[in-house]
C-alpha cells in the first residue's frame, strides 16, 4: 500500500526546490522536514496558534492547514526569508529584539511573518491596529505586552520618514544595551 508520490516544485524564499511528496503532506511538514527549513514551527496543527504562519504570495497562511501540493505555483516566504540580503535583521525582526518581544522563541516566526504582511498593508498602524495585527497568534510566554510594542517599533523601523528608519540597524536610541555576536 505504498503511497503515490508527486514530484512538485516549491518556490521558497526565492529559491525553487523540487521534492517528491504524497498528496497529504502538510506544507508545514514539507518545509520543515523535506526542505529543512525548520524556522516554521508547529504548535497545534489545527490552525489556531499561528506558529506555522508563512507568507504565500505575500499573504499570511497557516502552513499546517495547507497541503504542500497545493502550494505549487506560489511564492512562499518563511521566517528564514525575512532576514536582509546582507544577513542583517529585517525591521520586524529587529523590533522584536529591541522590545524583548520573544522569550522561548517558538511562536516568534509566526508573529514575524504575520506582522511583516500586516505592516505591508498598513504601514502606520494605530495602537489598537497594532494589537489587532497580532490578535490571531498565540504566545504562551510573553503576555503580549512587548509584542505589541515590537509591532509599533517595527512600523517605525520600516518607515523611511522616521528618523530610526534611516539609521543602520542596531544603532537605535533607547534600545536596550545592544550586543552583536
Amino acid at each position: 500500500m505504498s503511497e503515490e508520490l508527486h514530484r512538485i516544485r516549491l518556490s521558497v524564499n526565492g529559491v525553487t526546490r523540487e521534492v517528491e511528496l504524497p498528496a497529504r503532506r502538510l506544507l508545514s511538514d514539507a518545509l520543515r522536514h523535506d526542505l529543512g527549513l525548520t524556522g516554521t514551527h508547529v504548535g497545534c496543527e489545527h490552525g489556531v496558534c499561528g506558529a506555522c504562519t508563512v507568507l504565500v504570495d505575500g499573504q499570511p497562511v497557516r502552513a499546517c492547514l495547507m497541503f504542500a501540493v497545493s502550494a505549487v505555483d506560489t511564492e512562499i516566504t518563511t521566517v528564514e526569508g525575512l532576514t536582509r540580503e546582507d544577513g542583517s535583521l529585517g525591521p520586524v525582526q529587529q523590533a522584536f529584539a529591541e522590545c524583548h518581544g520573544l522569550q522561548c522563541g517558538f511562536c516568534t516566526p509566526g508573529f514575524l511573518t504575520t506582522v511583516t504582511a500586516c505592516l505591508r498593508e498598513n504601514p502606520h498602524p494605530s495602537h489598537d491596529e497594532a494589537r489587532e495585527m497580532v490578535a490571531g497568534n498565540l504566545c504562551r510566554c510573553t503576555g503580549y505586552q512587548n509584542i505589541v510594542k515590537a509591532v509599533e517599533r517595527a512600523a517605525e523601523l520600516a518607515d523611511p520618514q522616521h528618523p530610526d528608519g534611516q539609521r543602520p540597524v542596531g544603532q537605535q536610541p533607547d534600545a536596550p544595551v545592544e550586543v552583536q555576536r
Partner: protein, 796 residues
C-alpha cells in the same frame, strides 16, 4: 572601564538565532528524511482492562519498523517492564502508583500509552496505529474530586478510598486558637484544572552510536540530567554511555520537568535496537491528554480572628486531585499547604490535605505550582475578614504582615525541599504602599462613582504572595577561558525562554571583567556539565547564577595568579578590564586573558604563534614540574552552589475589572504588580517573566479549564476549545514596580522571578469581580456564564 551589567536591560543574545529561524528545538534536530518517526496508541477509555491486542494487520504495513506493546518491552530490557519511577517519594505518600511505559493490563486515563510504533514517517506511523485492534473491558471511571471522595468506584483496586496520601502540619493547637478567637468564619473555595500548555509540546530524538557504544538523546525537558539517569537505568546502560542534550525549548512552565515520559524511554530503546535515529514529536491533542495538568483543588478554611482582623487560628483542609498516578509525588499540595500563609503570621496554623486519585491525566507542577490555589485560599479569607469587620482590605492584610525587622522568619513548617519554611528577607508593608499607589487604591471610590454614572460596573481587588524560590539541592557551573580570550560557560540546568544565555553572560562579564559578547553560555547538555538538577521552582538565576558567579571567581583567581607570575607583580595589584589583565593604575603593564590561558597550559607542541609562547622551552621554572602538584593545566573555574534553604521572593498584585451588565463579560481595565525578587540581574527579562506570568494567570482566572465529561473524556483537548488568552484577552499595559530586598543566602542577593506573575492572579480577579458584583466569588475560573448564573442566584 567596563560598566557593570548586573541590573541592566541587556538585549538578549539568543534572540538573534530565534529571529532568523535558526532556533534548534528538538523537532528541528535531525530534520532529514533518514530519521524514523514514532507514534503512540493511546487509551480511548479513562478506565479499562486490556483483554487483547491484535496487531496482525500492522506488521506488514510498508514503512513500519517497530510495533511494541507492554509484552515486547521486558525481553528488550527487564527494567522497561517495571513501572516508571516515582520521582519524589515522600513518606506521606503511602499509596504512590506509577504507570508502565506501555500499559500492562489496565489503563487509568484517556491518553495513557498502550502501543508504540516506529515508521518511515509520522503519517505512516499513525496509519499503523489505526490498524491495532484492542479489546477492552471498560470499567467505571472516577472523574473529579467529588466522585473520588465518594469512592463508589476505585481508580486502583488496592488504594482504599482513592486516597494516595494524607498529610498534616500544624504550628500549635488550632482548635484552641479558634475557640479563643472573638470572630470565626468558614469558606469553601474551589479551583479547577488548567495546564502549562507550552507552544512546543514534548519531543525526543535519540541516536545510538554503535562505534562508540553510546546513546545520544535530545529531549525537550527541564532536567537533562534527570532524563539521563532515567534512560540509563531503564535501558540498562551506564550513565557514562548516555548523553542528554536539551536544545532550545519552546516553553516548559513545569510540565517538562516530569521525567521520564514513556516516549523518553521508548524512543532511545528503538534507536538502539534499529541503529537509526528515531524521533517522537507530540501533537497538540496528545499534549492535552497525555502530558500533565495542575491546579484542581477543593479547599475548606476555618479562620478565627480579633477585632483588627489579626488571625488567631487558621485551619485548612483541602483535597488535591493528582490524577491517575503520582510520579511527581506530593510537591504541588505540599507547596499549597505551606505557601498558603503568604506574608502573614497567624498565631496558629493547621493544614491537612488529601491527595486523591481520579481517572484523569497526571498532575505535575505548573508555573506557580500549588501557590495560586493557596494564595486564592488565603487572600479570599483576608477579603472575607475585611468584609465581616467592615474594614479596608489593605488594612486587614497590613495587620497580619510579618514585619521587616522579623526576618529571618520561621513559619514553623517544613517546605517542599524538606527544609524549614524560613523566609530570608522582605518588606511587605513597603510593597503594599507601592501597590496602593500604583493601582490607585485611594482614588478608586471616585472612579467607581464616575463609572457608575456612565452605567458601568467596576471593582478593585488585590492579593499578596510569598514564593519560595531557588530551592536546592545544588547547581554547578564550569567557566573556561579559551586562548582566544573567549569565555565558554556551561551549567547543567536547562532553558525554556528565560534568557539564561544573556543573564548568565552578564554575571560572568561582571565577575571576570570580560566583554559580554565574548561570553558564550551552554545549558542542559550533560556532556558539558553532568551534575545538575533542573529548571523549575524559579531556581535558575539563584542556583546556576550563583554557581556561575562562583566559578567565574575561581577562573579569575587563577588568571590573576598566572598573570602575576608572568608580569612579575603582586596579584593584589592586578585587575581584569575588558578581557585584559593589567596593573591597577598602571595599565601599561598588561596581558590579554587569552595569553594567560596560553600560559596556563604548558605545551610540548606549538600549534600557532600564541602557543609557541607556552612550550616547555618558553615557560616555567626548570627546577619545578611544569604543572605544580596542587594545580592543573588550563584556565578554568568550576564550582557548585548549594544553599541551606530556599530564598523567598514576594509580591502583590491589584486589578480593576469591569463586568458587563448584560453579557457578564469580565474585562480587566488596569493591572498592577509590585515585585520583590531581590537584586535584579536584567530588569527587562524580569518584567518579561512577570508579563508572561500574569497572562497565564489571567488564562487560569477567566478562561482555562479542563472540561472532563463524567466518563473521563477531555472535551476540550484542542486550542479551538481550550481557551488560552490571545492579546485580546490581556490588559493593554501591566504596571510594574520593583522592590529589592536582597537575599542573604547567596552571593548575588537574588531570588527567583519565574513564577511570581501567575500566583495571585485568580485571587486578585476574584476579589475585583466580587467587589464589582457584591456577592462572593468562591470558585475559579469564572466564565461569563458562571457569572451570569451567580447573578441569578443572588438576585433577591
Amino acid at each position: 572601564m567596563t560598566t557593570k551589567l548586573m541590573g541592566q536591560k541587556v538585549q538578549r543574545t539568543e534572540d538573534q538565532r530565534f529571529l532568523r529561524g535558526q532556533g534548534r528545538y528538538v523537532d528541528d534536530v535531525h530534520a532529514d528524511p533518514s530519521t524514523l518517526h514514532a507514534a503512540v496508541l493511546r487509551s480511548p477509555h479513562a478506565h479499562a482492562r486490556i483483554l487483547d491486542i491484535d496487531m496482525s494487520d500492522v506488521l506488514d504495513v510498508e514503512g513500519v519498523h517497530v510495533v511494541w506493546t507492554y509484552e515486547d518491552l521486558g525481553p528488550l530490557s527487564p527494567e522497561m517492564a517495571e513501572p516508571l519511577p516515582l520521582l519524589i517519594p515522600h513518606p506521606d505518600l503511602t499509596q504512590g502508583r506509577t504507570q508502565y511505559a506501555l500499559a500492562r493490563d489496565e489503563v487509568n486515563y484517556v491518553g495513557e500509552a498502550v502501543a508504540f510504533v516506529v515508521a518511515e514517517d509520522r503519517y505512516i506511523a499513525e496509519d499503523a496505529l489505526d490498524k491495532i485492534k484492542v479489546t477492552w473491558e471498560v470499567l467505571p471511571a472516577v472523574v473529579g474530586i467529588e466522585a473520588s471522595r465518594a469512592a463508589e468506584h476505585l481508580v486502583h483496586d488496592d488504594v482504599p478510598g482513592n486516597v494516595g496520601a494524607r498529610s498534616e502540619q500544624n504550628t500549635g493547637d488550632v482548635a484552641a486558637a479558634l475557640a479563643r478567637a472573638p470572630h470565626r468564619l468558614h469558606l469553601e473555595l474551589d479551583i479547577e484544572r488548567s495546564a502549562c500548555t507550552p507552544l512546543e509540546g514534548r519531543g525526543t530524538v535519540a541516536r545510538w552510536d554503535a562505534d562508540t557504544n553510546r546513546l545520544q538523546v535530545w529531549t525537550s525537558t527541564q532536567t537533562s540530567t534527570g532524563v539521563r539517569a532515567a534512560v540509563a537505568v531503564k535501558l540498562g546502560l551506564d550513565l557514562g554511555q548516555v548523553d542528554v542534550i536539551t536544545p532550545d525549548v519552546g516553553g516548559g512552565f513545569g510540565v517538562k520537568v516530569m521525567h521520564p515520559w514513556p516516549e523518553e524511554l521508548l524512543v532511545p530503546l528503538a534507536a538502539r535496537l534499529l541503529g537509526r535515529t528515531v524521533k517522537f514529536t507530540e501533537d497538540r491533542r496528545e499534549h492535552f491528554i497525555s502530558s500533565a495538568h495542575e491546579r484542581g483543588q477543593v479547599q475548606h478554611i476555618d479562620v478565627g480572628f480579633d477585632d483588627d482582623g489579626r488571625i488567631i487560628g487558621l485551619d485548612v483542609m483541602f483535597w488535591h486531585d493528582h490524577g491517575a498516578y503520582t510520579p511527581y509525588g506530593l510537591i504541588v499540595p505540599i507547596i499549597t499547604s505551606t505557601q498558603l500563609l503568604g506574608p502573614y503570621k497567624p498565631e496558629v496554623y493547621r493544614v491537612v490535605f488529601e491527595s486523591i486519585y481520579t481517572n484523569t491525566v497526571i498532575v505535575t507542577p505548573y508555573r506557580g505550582a500549588g501557590r495560586p490555589q493557596g494564595c486564592f485560599a488565603m487572600e479570599r479569607t483576608m477579603d472575607k475578614i475585611a468584609a465581616y469587620l467592615g474594614k479596608d482590605r489593605t488594612e486587614v492584610r497590613a495587620a497580619n504582615f510579618i514585619q521587616p525587622d522579623e526576618f529571618p522568619f520561621d513559619q514553623g513548617l517544613i517546605f517542599q525541599d524538606g527544609r524549614e519554611l524560613e523566609y530570608d528577607s522582605g518588606d511587605y508593608p513597603a510593597s503594599l504602599v507601592k501597590l496602593k499607589k500604583l493601582i490607585g487604591w485611594e482614588e478608586f471610590p471616585a472612579l467607581r462613582e464616575k463609572m457608575a454614572a456612565e452605567g458601568r460596573t467596576v471593582g478593585i481587588g488585590l492579593a499578596c504572595y510569598v514564593e519560595g524560590t531557588g530551592v536546592g539541592p545544588y547547581e554547578g557551573a564550569h567557566v573556561h577561558i579559551e586562548t582566544s580570550g573567549k569565555v565558554k560557560v556551561a551549567t547543567g540546568l536547562t532553558t525554556q525562554g528565560q534568557g539564561h544565555a544573556t543573564v548568565f553572560a552578564q554575571l560572568v562579564a561582571d565577575e571576570l571583567g570580560v566583554r559580554f559578547e565574548d561570553v558564550e553560555v551552554v545549558t542542559g547538555d550533560t556532556r558539558r556539565m553532568p551534575y545538575a538538577v533542573g529548571t523549575f521552582a524559579s531556581r535558575a538565576a539563584v542556583m546556576s547564577g550563583s554557581a556561575i558567579h562562583l566559578a567565574a571567581k575561581r577562573a579569575k583567581e587563577k588568571a590573576l595568579r598566572i598573570a602575576a607570575d608572568a608580569l612579575e607583580v603582586d596579584e593584589a595589584d592586578l585587575e581584569i578590564v575588558d578581557g585584559v589583565v593589567q596593573v591597577k593604575g598602571s595599565p601599561g603593564t598588561r596581558m590579554d586573558l587569552g595569553t594567560v590561558a596560553v600560559l596556563s597550559n604548558p605545551l610540548r607542541y606549538a600549534f600557532d604563534e600564541a602557543s609557541k609562547a607556552a612550550t616547555q622551552f618558553a615557560v616555567g621554572d626548570p627546577g619545578k614540574p611544569p604543572v605544580a602538584e596542587d594545580d592543573e593545566p588550563g584556565l578554568e573555574g568550576k564550582d557548585f552552589y548549594s544553599p541551606q534553604r530556599a530564598t523567598f521572593a514576594s509580591g502583590m498584585h491589584a486589578a480593576i475589572v469591569e463586568t458587563d451588565p448584560d453579557t457578564a463579560e469580565v474585562t480587566i481595565l488596569k493591572y498592577a504588580v509590585v515585585h520583590d525578587c531581590g537584586h535584579l540581574i536584567n530588569p527587562m527579562i524580569v518584567e518579561g517573566q512577570i508579563h508572561g506570568g500574569v497572562a497565564q494567570g489571567i488564562g487560569g482566572a477567566l478562561y482555562e479549564r479542563m472540561a472532563y465529561d463524567p466518563s473521563g473524556q477531555l472535551l476540550n483537548a484542542s486550542f479551538m476549545d481550550f481557551l488560552m488568552p490571545y492579546v485580546t484577552e490581556i490588559p493593554d499595559g501591566i504596571d510594574i514596580d520593583h522592590l529589592e530586598t536582597p537575599s542573604p543566602l547567596n552571593p548575588l542577593g537574588i531570588k527567583g522571578a519565574g513564577e511570581a506573575g501567575v500566583i495571585p492572579v485568580s485571587a486578585v480577579v476574584a476579589a475585583a469581580i466580587e467587589d464589582a458584583e457584591g456577592f462572593p466569588i468562591t470558585a475559579m475560573p469564572i466564565s461569563p456564564s458562571d457569572l451570569h448564573t451567580l447573578r441569578q442566584e443572588h438576585t433577591p
